[in-house]
Every structure is written in C-alpha cells, then in structure tokens.
C-alpha cells in the first residue's frame, strides 16, 4: 500500500515531460511585431501597385529584413526543440491523415513515423509556416503579379486585390502562433 501510494504521488506530482513547451514572451512579442510590420508593408504595396516604389526590385530590402526577423524567432524555437520536429499526437495524426487523404506535410509524416518531435518542435513549425507565407508573397511580388505603369509598361507589383487576399491568409498563420502562445500564458 505504501509503495502504491508513493508511486501514485510521484507519478502525478513529479516532473513528467511537459506536453507543451513553456510560454515564451520573446516569441509572442516578436510575432506581434512581425504582424504589424508585414501588415503595414503589404497594404503599402497594394497602394503603390504600378508605381516605381511598389515594384519588387524597390522592396527587396524590406523582404530581407522581415525574413531575418522571422529567422531569429525560428532559431530560438528550434534550439529549444533540438531540431526534432513537430509531432502530432498519434490518434489525432491518424484521423487527420485519413481526412486529408494521407496528404500530410512530409516532415510531419517523418516525425510521426520515427516517433521524434516534441512540443518545442511544433512552435518552430508554426513559425516556419509564417516564413513560408512570407516567401509566397515575395514570389507573387517578384514573378506573377504585373501592373500597368506609364508609359505602357508592365512592372512587378503586388496588386491591390492580391495584397488583400494574401494578407488575410498570412495573418491566419501568424494568428496561429499568437493564439498558442496566449493560451500558454493564460
């Protein structure tokens, strides 16, 4: 009886591996700052579409600065996870994979298969997804969006409609990071 009771107390009162990584104020504040900068920048680009200051070539420095800001946050989250990746809970993974017709992202598949991955890895993954969104906006600005610019030229731009849709989608990924950090804090 004594052993059983002791084991019970140790099990529940001890220090098991946490299911989620601890709240990180630097990541939460960093993401809020990134949100503000990206939103101002993309809205400005939508307004400047077709003007010289709205071309991709005129804004590469801003993209580099935004990427660097995210890279610092990703590095912080990755160093905590020791690069093991993000692993979804097995049961949830199975069901989600079924719903998505096994169209799961490759790194999640790998983490589920080899049993690697931890809570910190999911933090890093969320930030990497924000980085991907920025990369997509950059790709559109550099390659696919074109605007008429006098005299009769086509220049690279972020069209007004594109900037609106892209921002709404990118904000979903940024919001995902904020929501998780806020839930940990509360």
């Amino acid at each position: 009886m004594r052993t059983l009771l002791l084991a019970f107390v140790v099990l529940l009162g001890g220090c098991p591996a946490p299911l989620v990584s601890p709240y990180d104020e630097v990541i939460e504040k960093g993401v809020v700052d990134f949100y503000e900068r990206l939103n101002v920048f993309v809205k400005d680009m939508g307004d400047a579409a077709g003007k010289p200051e709205g071309t991709y070539e005129a804004n590469t420095k801003t993209y580099n600065a935004l990427e660097a800001k995210l890279d610092v946050l990703i590095l912080r989250a990755s160093s905590a996870s020791q690069g093991t990746g993000c692993r979804l809970e097995a049961k949830v993974y199975e069901k989600v994979a079924k719903v998505l017709d096994n169209d799961m992202p490759a790194d999640m598949k790998a983490s589920a298969k080899d049993g690697a991955g931890d809570a910190n890895g999911c933090n890093a993954r969320l930030l990497q997804l924000v980085r991907q969104q920025l990369g997509f906006i950059r790709e559109i600005h550099a390659k696919t969006d074109k605007c008429a610019s006098p005299p009769g030229q086509q220049v690279s731009c972020l069209r007004k409609a594109t900037s609106e849709t892209a921002l709404k989608i990118a904000n979903q990924s940024i919001n995902a990071v904020s929501v998780v950090e806020a839930a940990k804090r509360n």
Partner: protein, 115 residues
C-alpha cells in the same frame, strides 16, 4: 457544376475537424471554426478574383497568382491544424497540472506520515 459556396466549404471543414479531433474538439471549438470560416471565404475570394481578372486585366489577379494564394491557404490550414493540436495539449496539460496540485496537497501529509 457550380462552384461550392463559402458556407458549403465551411460545413465540410467543420465536419472534418470534428471527425479528426473527436472528444478533444471542445478544447478548440472557439478557435478552429472561426479559422475554418475564414478559409472558406478566402477560397471563394480567390476564385472570384481570378474570374474578375479574366474579364478585365486591371481587376482581380491572374491564375498564376491565384495558384500561389491557394498554396498559401494550404499552409494556413496546416498552421491552424498544428495550433489546434497545441491548444488541445495545453488544455490537457492544464488539467493535469491542476490535478497534480490537488493530489500533492491531499497526499502530502499522508505520505509524510507513512514514510
């Protein structure tokens, strides 16, 4: 075949979400549906803007841009999925912490007595 409405897409996403997360769904019920609704609206918005561009090149955006925006939407879906899983785990962690606190308090004196 007519394009599905945002409402139809939303209903399908909700059903898939509930199916995937089962009993844990309640822990994320506030966050996930709002995000699914945004996705559904944005997917129809992309289709509408590509159609507007086809009619008038000064409106909407090209199919190439639309394709990248759909990739962005897929990435956003992954963000929501990972966040939803994390919110579930945070709820479980908080419940475990609260339980452990009660147990520690309850058994502390008892353990001290029998040891």
């Amino acid at each position: 075949m007519p394009a599905p409405s945002a409402e139809q897409i939303f209903e399908e996403m909700m059903a898939a979400g509930e199916k995937a997360f089962g009993a844990s769904w309640s822990a994320v019920a506030n966050y996930a549906p709002a995000e699914f609704r945004k996705m559904a609206i944005q997917i129809t918005e992309i289709a509408q803007n590509v159609a507007r561009y086809k009619l008038d090149k000064s409106e909407g955006y090209s199919e190439e841009t639309g394709r990248i925006l759909m990739k962005m939407q897929r990435t956003a879906a992954e963000s929501v999925l990972v966040a939803t899983t994390q919110l579930n785990l945070i709820a479980v962690q908080k419940a475990m912490d609260a339980m452990a606190k009660v147990l520690r308090k309850t058994f502390k004196g008892l353990v001290a007595r029998i040891l």
